[in-house]
């Protein structure tokens, strides 16, 4: 079996397992109030972590690049217009334009 085939099969299996753990372990139970209270705040924490790692991390280095400016401009546009499509388009267009310079 080729290395690529092993990687495809391996990542498929571990992804399925990781996605199944929470639903299997915690499914069908009533929510204690402290659990709900933490879950509500999980989305802001994880979303911000995804934003900063995807715009400021290059491997194990922190860098500011065209995509940083693009995403920041997209965020500003969303703040003013609440247009999610406009936010993405501006981010991609500005990133592409800065890379072309």
């Amino acid at each position: 079996m080729s290395t690529v085939a092993i990687v495809i099969g391996g990542v498929a299996l571990t992804t399925a397992a990781v996605k199944a753990v929470g639903p299997v372990a915690l499914g069908g139970r009533d929510l204690p109030d402290w659990f709900s209270s933490v879950v509500v705040l999980l989305a802001p924490a994880l979303l911000m972590a995804l934003v900063v790692t995807q715009t400021l991390a290059d491997g194990d280095r922190l860098t500011v690049g065209p995509e940083t400016a693009g995403v920041a401009a997209g965020g500003l546009l969303y703040w003013r217009t609440e247009s999610i499509v406009g936010c993405g388009l501006l981010a991609a267009a500005l990133t592409a334009a800065l890379r072309a310079l």
């Binding site: 290395t3 690529v4 990687v7 495809i8 391996g10 990542v11 571990t14 992804t15 990781v18 996605k19 199944a20 753990v21 929470g22 639903p23 372990a25 915690l26 069908g28 139970r29 009533d30 929510l31 109030d33 402290w34 659990f35 709900s36 933490v38 879950v39 509500v40 705040l41 999980l42 989305a43 802001p44 924490a45 994880l46 979303l47 911000m48 972590a49 995804l50 934003v51 790692t53 995807q54 715009t55 491997g59 194990d60 280095r61 922190l62 995509e67 693009g70 997209g74 965020g75 969303y78 999610i84 499509v85 936010c87 993405g88 501006l90 981010a91 991609a92 267009a93 990133t95 334009a97």
Partner: protein, 235 residues
């Protein structure tokens, strides 16, 4: 995102499909990039398409391909991709109590989680809207596969996908989701704390782990005032 607060009309699968459209467009564009870079890393077009079909987790796919392209082996690629997916442990734990059925059925439903569908399905009271989750994820699955096929079959025409700025699409959409989600001072503070934790860990931790650990910022929810607020929201 509080798309279906308690007491309001429940969402349908098609509401989820509609809500998922912007993310599906972004995913489709990003998966064109995946089809291209996978071939540059030595995948055949069919292997790239197959990986999107059976994995359906963009960041893990890009991570595995990048490691193979850099000369890494299968074990390194699988390990790094799994760590990149580790945030799904936190997301799945949050989602679990909102899923009905036996363990196998819940495990199957958990497969539909991707970042945007999970955030869209969050009702804002600690529970999740399954119709929103399934609808938005189905839309994103469709364009993820379509984009991969386009990228894999036209890699030579597209060239370097980064010059198109497509990698900025997802973080921009996540930022917009965050701004829609974090309406309270507490949520904004937790977001800032989560971002700081992730940035602090980037130089030291394997890729993927900073995002998982950033989820610990949500433990602010254990404070008495946060619990009182959620009890008020649920009543």
């Amino acid at each position: 995102m509080a798309v279906d607060p308690p007491g309001s009309q429940p969402s349908t699968f098609w509401d989820g499909v509609r809500a998922g459209v912007p993310f599906a467009i972004a995913g489709g564009m990003l998966s064109i990039s995946f089809g291209v870079v996978a071939q540059q890393a030595g995948f055949s077009a069919l292997e790239a398409i197959l990986m999107s079909l059976v994995v359906y987790a963009g960041s893990a796919q890009f991570t595995a391909v990048a490691i193979l392209a850099a000369g890494g082996g299968a074990a390194a690629a699988i390990s790094a991709a799994t760590l990149m997916n580790s945030r799904f442990l936190a997301m799945g734990a949050a989602l679990g109590p909102s899923l009905p059925g036996g363990p196998l059925k819940r495990a199957a439903q958990g497969q539909t989680v991707v970042d945007a569908s999970w955030a869209l399905a969050s009702r804002g009271d600690g529970t999740f809207d399954r119709s929103m989750l399934f609808g938005s994820s189905a839309m994103q699955f469709l364009t993820w596969q379509t984009g991969t096929v386009i990228g894999a079959l036209s890699a030579d025409l597209i060239g370097d996908p980064n010059r198109l700025g497509l990698d900025a699409l997802f973080p921009a959409f996540f930022l917009a989701l965050l701004m829609a989600e974090a309406r309270t001072g507490r949520a904004r503070a937790v977001a800032a704390l989560g971002g700081l934790i992730a940035l602090a860990l980037v130089p030291f931790a394997p890729a993927g782990v900073p995002v998982l650990v950033a989820g610990a910022a949500a433990l602010v929810g254990l404070t008495r005032s946060a619990r009182a607020d959620i009890a008020k929201a649920q009543s």
